[in-house]
C-alpha cells in the first residue's frame, strides 16, 4: 500500500513508521480508558480556575514575620535529616553494592537475593516507610531519618552497583594479576574507577532526599512538612508563602552547590 497523496513520510511505503504510531496509539488509548477514573475533564478544570486564582491571591499577603525563627529551625531540621540519612545510607550502601554488582559478587544466588531485597525496599515511597516507622517508634525526626535511610540504601546500592558493573575489566585484571587479594582488588581496581559515578549518585540522591524530607513532616516524621500541612489546613495564609519560598530557596541552593561540587570533583 503506497501513499498516493502529495505529502509522504520518508519510509519505503510513504506511510508513517510503525513503531512510533503504535506507541502513540497505545498511550492515547490508555489515557482515554483511565480518564474517568482520574476524573480528568476539562469542565472541572475550567471551573476551578477562579478558585485557584482566588487562593493564590490569598497567599500573597503580608508574611508572618514572627514565624521566621521557627521556620528557620524547621528547615535546618529538614536539612539535617537529609544529610544524616544520606550518610547512614552511604555507609551501608558502599560495601553492599559490591554484593549487588554482577562482577564483584562471589555467589550468583546472593547477587539475586540482594537485588530482589533492594527492589522491595525501593518500591515503597519514603512516606509509606515514614508512616510505618512513626507508628513503630513515635513522632519526631528519628522515624523520618530511618525511613529516608532505608529507601536511600535501596537506590544508592543500585546506582553504585551499576557503576561497579561498567568498570573496565582490564584494569581489574591488571591489579589481580599482581597478586592482590580479593578485597584489595575491589579497593584498588573497582573503587577508583567507579568513584566519579559514586559521587554523582550521592549528589543526585542528596538532592532527591531533601525534596523528600520536606514532605515527611506530613506524617509527623520531622521537618517542615508538618508546618506545611498545618498552615494549609488552618488557612494560615501568611505562612504558606513563606514556607514555599523557604523550600524553594533551600532546594535550589543545594542544587547549585551540588552542581558546583560535581563540576570540580569529577
Amino acid at each position: 500500500m503506497t501513499n498516493c497523496f502529495q505529502l509522504r513520510w520518508p519510509t519505503r511505503s510513504g506511510l508513517p513508521p510503525f513503531a512510533p504510531v503504535l506507541s502513540v496509539g497505545v498511550v492515547v488509548a490508555l489515557l482515554a480508558w483511565s480518564a474517568p477514573v482520574a476524573e480528568v475533564n476539562a469542565g472541572h478544570l475550567y471551573a476551578s480556575i477562579p478558585r485557584l486564582i482566588d487562593f493564590l491571591r490569598n497567599i500573597l499577603v503580608m508574611p508572618d514575620w514572627k514565624y521566621l525563627p521557627q521556620l528557620g529551625q524547621k528547615m535546618l531540621e529538614t536539612l539535617e535529616m537529609t544529610f544524616l540519612a544520606t550518610s547512614i545510607a552511604a555507609v551501608i550502601s558502599l560495601p553492599l553494592s559490591f554484593l549487588a554488582a554482577r562482577n564483584t559478587c562471589p555467589f550468583p544466588a546472593l547477587f539475586h537475593g540482594v537485588r530482589a531485597l533492594l527492589s522491595l525496599v525501593r518500591a515503597l515511597p519514603e512516606m509509606v516507610w515514614a508512616l510505618v516507622f512513626v507508628s513503630a517508634i513515635g513522632l519526631g525526626p528519628l522515624p523520618g531519618i530511618m525511613a529516608l535511610a532505608f529507601v536511600t540504601v535501596g537506590f544508592m546500592t543500585k546506582f553504585f552497583a551499576e557503576a561497579i558493573e561498567v568498570v573496565d575489566q582490564r584494569a581489574v585484571e591488571g591489579v589481580a594479576a599482581h597478586g592482590a587479594g580479593w578485597l584489595q582488588v575491589k579497593i584498588f581496581a573497582h573503587l577508583p574507577q567507579a568513584w566519579p559515578d559514586f559521587i554523582g549518585a550521592i549528589m543526585y540522591i542528596l538532592d532527591h532526599n531533601l525534596r523528600g524530607a520536606t514532605l515527611l513532616g506530613l506524617v509527623g516524621a520531622g521537618g517542615i512538612g508538618y508546618d506545611m500541612i498545618m498552615s494549609m489546613r488552618l488557612f494560615d495564609y501568611n505562612r504558606i508563602l513563606v514556607i514555599a519560598v523557604a523550600i524553594y530557596i533551600v532546594v535550589t541552593a543545594l542544587d547549585r552547590v551540588s552542581d558546583q561540587f560535581r563540576a570540580r570533583v569529577i
Binding site: 502529495q6 505529502l7 509522504r8 513520510w9 520518508p10
Partner: protein, 259 residues
Amino acid sequence: MKKISFHAVEKRYPNGFHALRGVSLEIEAGSFTVILGPSGAGKSTLLRLVNGLETPTAGHVAFGPTAPSRSSLRGIRSGIGMVFQQFNLVGRLSVMTNVLTGRLAHRSWLGSIFYLFRREDIAIAREALERVGLVDKAWERADRLSGGQQQRVGIARALAQRPQIILADEPVASLDPVSSDDVMQLLRGICDRDGITVLVNLHQVEHARRYADRVIGLNSGQVVFDGAPGQLDSISLNRIYHRDGAPHDELFSAALAYA
C-alpha cells in the same frame, strides 16, 4: 552562479587564537579549489566563513557583487552544501531521511515538523543517492554504514540542496585510501558535471595534485601559495607546511617529498 570573494577577512577567537590574518581571495564560480595547510592554519575557519558557521572579526565574505546580510543567512546556507570530516549524519535516522534534511530549507515549517515531504523532494533525494551510488541503502539506519558510505551520504545530502557551492572540510581525513579516492572523484565529478563551485580542505597533497584546478596554501592564517597544482614544488610545500620553531631537517623534507 556567483563567485566567492574574501575581502581581507580576519578571525580572532575569544581565547585569543588568531586564526586568519587578512586573507583576500576570489574563488571563481564552477571551479575546484583545494586549500592545503598544516593544522591550525585556518583552513576550517576560512571554509566556515562562507556559510556563516563562523563570522569574521574584520573584513567580509561576499557572493558576487553583494555582501551577505544577517537575515538571509538561511537562504544563503540553502544554496551552499557542506561535507564534514566526521560525516555528521544523524545516526538514528535512515539514510533517506538524512539526505532529505538537505531539503529542509525548501519545506514548509509545519510539514517538516511531522517529517512530511513532497514527492519532488523525495525524488531529488533519490536522485542524489543514485549519484553517490547508495540507493540500495536508502532505508537503512545511517550509523550502520561504513565510513566511506556515510561520507557519500553526506555528499548526497549536500547535493539534495541543489547548491551552487559545496564546501568540504577535510572530507577524507577519516577514510581509508580507497574510499578516500571514491569521495574525491565524486566531488570532482560533481564540479565538472553540475558546474558547482567546490572548495575543499585537505592535507593530502597527492589529492590536491590529482583533482584541483587551483591550490591555495594557508599557513598561520595567511595565504602563502596560490596557483595551479603543477606549481607545487618542494619550495612551495616548505612554505606551506613551515612551522615556527620546528626544525627544517631531513625528516621534514622527507615527509614533504612523499606528500
